[in-house]
């Protein structure tokens, strides 16, 4: 066991983990942040996607030590105390989450996209989500949700 220090969703956290732990294992098993999901454990499905220093990252193939000293944002950190992030709200309104297991990762990829590109085209949305497999929706409603969220963010 070694102690790793992380900044997660604005909180400074310290956590004892085995040296081989990934960022995903640390979030889920060390810190109890189970919103980020494990679907394949080898970087293929994207369910584990979190935002590290503004970029969407596959936490299941990121050694936790690489996240030390960086700003980690997970699905639990997207909403404020009183308000959902517009992407979260639009996912709900548009039926973009069915089983919901890929949703935390897709939300993180979407937020990372909108933070650097506030008005993406549908093609840019498709490209930004190409690392996140969804087995339920056929993706259409996910694109609709991201587009609607971009509009709402643009209106602010």
């Amino acid at each position: 066991m070694e102690v790793v220090r992380l900044r997660v969703n604005g909180d400074e956290r310290a956590c004892g983990v085995p040296a081989h732990y990934t960022l995903l294992e640390t979030l889920r098993y060390g810190l109890g942040l189970t919103g980020s999901k494990q679907g394949c454990d080898k970087g293929d499905c994207g369910a584990c996607t979190v935002i590290v220093d503004g970029r969407a990252v596959l936490s299941c193939i990121t050694p936790v030590w690489e996240a030390e000293g960086r700003e980690v944002r997970t699905v639990e950190g997207l909403a404020t105390a009183t308000e959902l992030h517009p992407v979260q709200d639009e996912f709900d309104l548009n039926g973009a989450a069915q089983c919901g297991f890929c949703t935390p990762g897709i939300l993180c990829s979407s937020v990372a996209l909108l933070d650097r590109n506030p008005s993406p085209t549908r093609g840019e949305i498709r490209a930004a989500l190409a690392g996140n497999l969804c087995r339920c929706t056929g993706y259409e409603k996910i694109y609709d949700a991201v587009e609607a969220a971009a509009e709402r963010l643009g209106d602010r």
């Binding site: 499905c45 089983c99 297991f101 993706y139």
Partner: protein, 809 residues
């Protein structure tokens, strides 16, 4: 026995118009709720799902998100051989490892199980034989995952290898050693089931045909790949109770099998089903991990969790069977079907799973939406030494539908009839019976054809696009639930319980399985509709066999129809009590009391009303604690009386038509599907957003099977026989956002006479036509017939080359 279009008691279906008021203008309110369809307040509107916020914020707790104090981690040791006798297992070294608390083998659970009670052929862990690479032989529970993995490597298993069968034809031809002991002396232990049925005079039908089209087709196996791997937790408590949390679609069947196999009183066994992260049929029977966590917890006295690796998910499988199919289809020169004959060999893998049903479904579910004067099918399911196949979305009927709809396209081509028109001509009609005597009620198939024809601009495109581009059409039908449970009984197939609180809140106790399809939301919408309660005042407790009534599970597209009707039943019992109590207070008749918008109001007198909470309190004062149960069972007059007639019977059928537009690169054989138009008759869309989601997800999954997916295994000369070719999400390619075509949903509402508010299924039917529509579009594009799946670049390229002239005709 068959009669075509015997009348139009069911009014014509309508295309759902976009807009918030579409559902209130309902001219065809002929469903069981004809009295209310004119003024539905909630049903039919786009609404949020009740669990959407929890899923969108990471608060939804799936099975692997649950951690219990003192929890151990379990792992299963799996066979490296496709077929072998177990000579000896020595677990002593594993048991001696520090941190290991329990080890079990097949001898600890020596009772066979199976989802179909007539074919129990699996042990929780193998006892005497392994039958596929990946078959479980032992399981351990240890303080953590690393220790559990280390313990597996310390278990010594001595195997005596047996010849492996990887091909179903070879398995059928063999005379032993069989994969399973024959169930009767003299039988072939490599065959699960053979079904042969004939309806009408098939030979006479072919004799009277102007055209008979014959073809051989192959449908490759595919698997479900839910993003959530299977996971289960067992907790045995000192008082003898056992709780198993599992990512299952069938908590009730799991409850029964756990009790039976572990020899426990079912009253002491509790199955809890947390939200499931995708299933598609892949979690609809008991799996080894559920028995293992239970047994290991009973042994160690501590909670035990097993989470499959992604590789284990591929090996646990139970997905689409590979089908080898031969079809003969006869028609008159004006395109009317005369006779259909099929012969099918199914590659079942190592265990029966739902295979008995699959074998029937491979023939029984083909007999609509087209009128067939005569039909015969012969289907055999073989065992092979590969992971067991089972039910995947569109169970048993997706493969025949592919072959049959390509056959129709060939008939249309030969007779120079537009393929949409050919399908219209053969429409079976509504309120009729199929050639195999299945009852069909509402049927919006013609409207589906019209909708995709119009939306895709078919008339401008079919046979008119430049070489390399084409459009194709296909149609289909699917059951809305099976008419009988998997174990025979006369009890309801769906039950629900409602409880009303003095605060105005309604609690729903539902046994159904939320697997992402939205069943928890569906019952919430119904309670809101019936009792006028705001959605946010309704709570759902679901999928817990200690506290919720039995629902058979999320399979066969049964839940909206069956649980929805049960929910209406329960809600109306409460409504009647509330109306009576309020009417008494107002000195009026109960039917004058309306419940809507959080209020009880007097009909025609908007000045008289009270908050619903007060109305509930009046009812509680009059009747005592307010609650009600509701249940649903299927009508029994929907099928014939021949042996097998009940399998494939359903209280209602959905109908679907697709048009696919493709671009084919003749130089590489690469097929790009540009768009799929999906028209689906779901009876009534209780929430159109969720219905569209099912339609698009289905079409996506069909597209994936058409072009990309192959659940295939290595042969001995490729290394090791029976080894999965590519058990990862990188190598077993499922479509990413960049692969998936544009999908356009066109909801058709035929308003079923028995469905809840007229609703039928939407979760499986819309998958079927994707594959033949794409095959037919490839033909329109480059002139070649694709009869083997998937339509991968090498296959398509070879077909174009074989056509000689590049397919230009």
């Amino acid at each position: 026995m068959s009669g075509r279009g015997t009348g139009t008691v069911v009014p014509p279906a309508r295309v759902r118009e976009p807009g918030p008021d579409a559902q209130t203008a309902s001219p065809n309110g002929s469903g069981r709720d004809a009295d209310t369809t004119a003024a539905l307040a909630t049903i039919g509107r786009p609404m949020r799902k009740i669990d959407g916020r929890a899923k969108g914020t990471g608060r939804a707790r799936y099975t692997d998100d649950i951690r219990l104090p003192g929890m151990l981690h379990g792992k299963i040791l799996r066979s490296p051989h496709p077929h072998a006798r177990i000579v000896a297992i020595d677990t002593s070294r594993a048991e001696a490892l520090e941190g290991v608390h329990g080890v079990v083998t097949g001898r600890d659970m020596p009772t066979t199980y199976g989802i179909i009670p007539w074919t129990p052929d699996e042990y929780p862990l193998c006892v005497d034989k392994v039958r596929y690479v990946g078959d479980g032989v032992a399981a351990v529970a240890a303080v953590d995952e690393d220790t559990a993995n280390a313990a597996l490597s310390l278990i010594d298993v001595e195997y005596e290898e047996l010849p492996a069968y990887l091909d179903p034809h070879e398995a059928i031809a063999a005379d032993g050693p069989f994969i399973h002991e024959p169930r009767k002396k003299g039988w072939n232990g490599n065959i699960t089931k053979t079904v042969e049925l004939a309806f009408g005079d098939v030979d006479h039908g072919f004799e009277g045909s102007d055209l008979v089209v014959e073809g051989d087709y192959f449908f490759e196996g595919t698997t479900h790949t839910p993003i959530e791997p299977h996971c289960a937790i067992g907790l045995a408590e000192p008082d003898g109770r056992l709780t198993v949390w599992s990512a299952t679609q069938v908590p009730h069947y799991l409850h029964r099998e756990l009790a039976r196999v572990l020899e426990l009183d079912p009253a002491r066994v509790r199955v809890v089903q947390p939200p499931v992260g995708g299933a598609f049929g892949g979690k609809s029977e008991p799996f080894d991990l559920e028995f293992c966590v239970a047994r290991l917890s009973m042994m160690t006295g501590r909670p035990v969790k097993i989470l499959y690796t992604r590789e284990e998910v591929f090996y646990s499988h139970r997905g689409r069977h590979p089908f080898h199919m031969r079809y003969r289809t006869g028609a008159t020169r004006d395109g009317m079907l005369t006779a259909v004959d099929s012969r099918i060999v199914m590659d079942g893998g190592a265990y029966a799973s739902f295979g008995l049903v699959t074998t029937y479904y491979s023939g029984q579910l083909l007999t609509a939406p087209y009128h067939m004067p005569a039909y015969r099918f012969h289907s055999t399911r073989a065992y092979t030494n590969k992971p067991a196949c089972g039910p995947k979305r569109g169970h048993g009927s997706v493969q025949p539908r592919f072959a049959f709809e390509v056959q129709l396209d060939r008939i249309a081509e030969a007779l120079d009839i537009d393929p949409i028109d050919l399908r219209r001509r053969n429409f079976i009609g509504s309120d009729t019976r199929t050639v195999n005597d299945l009852r069909v009620t509402s049927n919006g198939f013609l409207e589906c054809l019209d909708a995709v024809e119009r939306a895709s601009e078919w008339g401008r495109k079919y046979r008119r696009l430049p070489y390399g581009r084409g459009v194709g059409v296909a149609g289909s039908t699917y059951i809305t639930g099976t008419n009988y449970p998997v174990y025979p009984n006369d009890m309801p197939q769906s039950g629900i319980q409602l409880q009303v609180d003095r605060s105005g809140r309604v609690a729903i106790f539902s046994g159904a399985s939320e697997i992402g399809q939205g069943v928890d939301s569906m019952v919430t919408y119904i309670v809101a509709e019936e009792l006028g309660v705001p959605l946010e005042h309704i709570r759902v407790l679901a999928g817990d066999t200690d506290f919720t009534p039995v629902d058979l599970g999320a399979y066969s597209s049964r839940v909206t129809f069956m649980l929805g009707n049960a929910c209406i039943d329960a809600a109306r019992r409460i409504k009647a009590m509330v109306q009576e109590a309020v009417a008494e207070a107002w000195g009026t008749k109960p039917r004058e009391v309306l419940l809507a918008g959080g209020l009880a109001v007097m009909a025609g007198d908007t000045g008289t009303g009270m908050p619903l909470r007060e109305a509930f309190n009046l009812a509680e004062a009059k009747f005592g604690t307010l609650g009600a149960t509701g249940s649903y069972n299927t009508p029994r007059d929907v099928h014939g009386s021949y042996r097998g007639a009940t399998i494939g019977a359903s209280p209602a059928h959905s109908f679907t038509a697709h048009v696919a537009e493709v671009e084919v690169d003749p130089e590489t054989g690469f097929v790009t599907v540009e768009k799929i138009w999906i028209a689906h008759d779901c009876g009534r869309a209780l929430n159109p957003v969720l219905v569209e989601g099912q339609m698009e997800g289905s079409a996506y999954m069909g597209f994936a099977e058409a072009l990309m997916e192959e659940q295939i295994f290595k042969s001995a000369d490729q290394g090791r026989a029976g080894l999965h070719n590519a058990p990862s999400l990188l190598d077993y390619r499922i479509p990413t956002s960049l692969d998936t075509p544009a999908l356009e949903s066109l909801i058709i509402e035929s308003i079923d006479p028995e469905g809840p508010y007229g609703a039928k299924e939407a979760g499986e039917g819309p998958l079927h036509p994707s594959i033949p529509a794409i095959a037919n579009a490839i033909h329109d594009a480059v002139g070649v017939r694709m009869n083997s799946l998937p339509f991968s670049p090498p296959r398509v390229w070879r077909a174009i080359q074989a056509a000689g002239d590049g397919g230009r005709g």
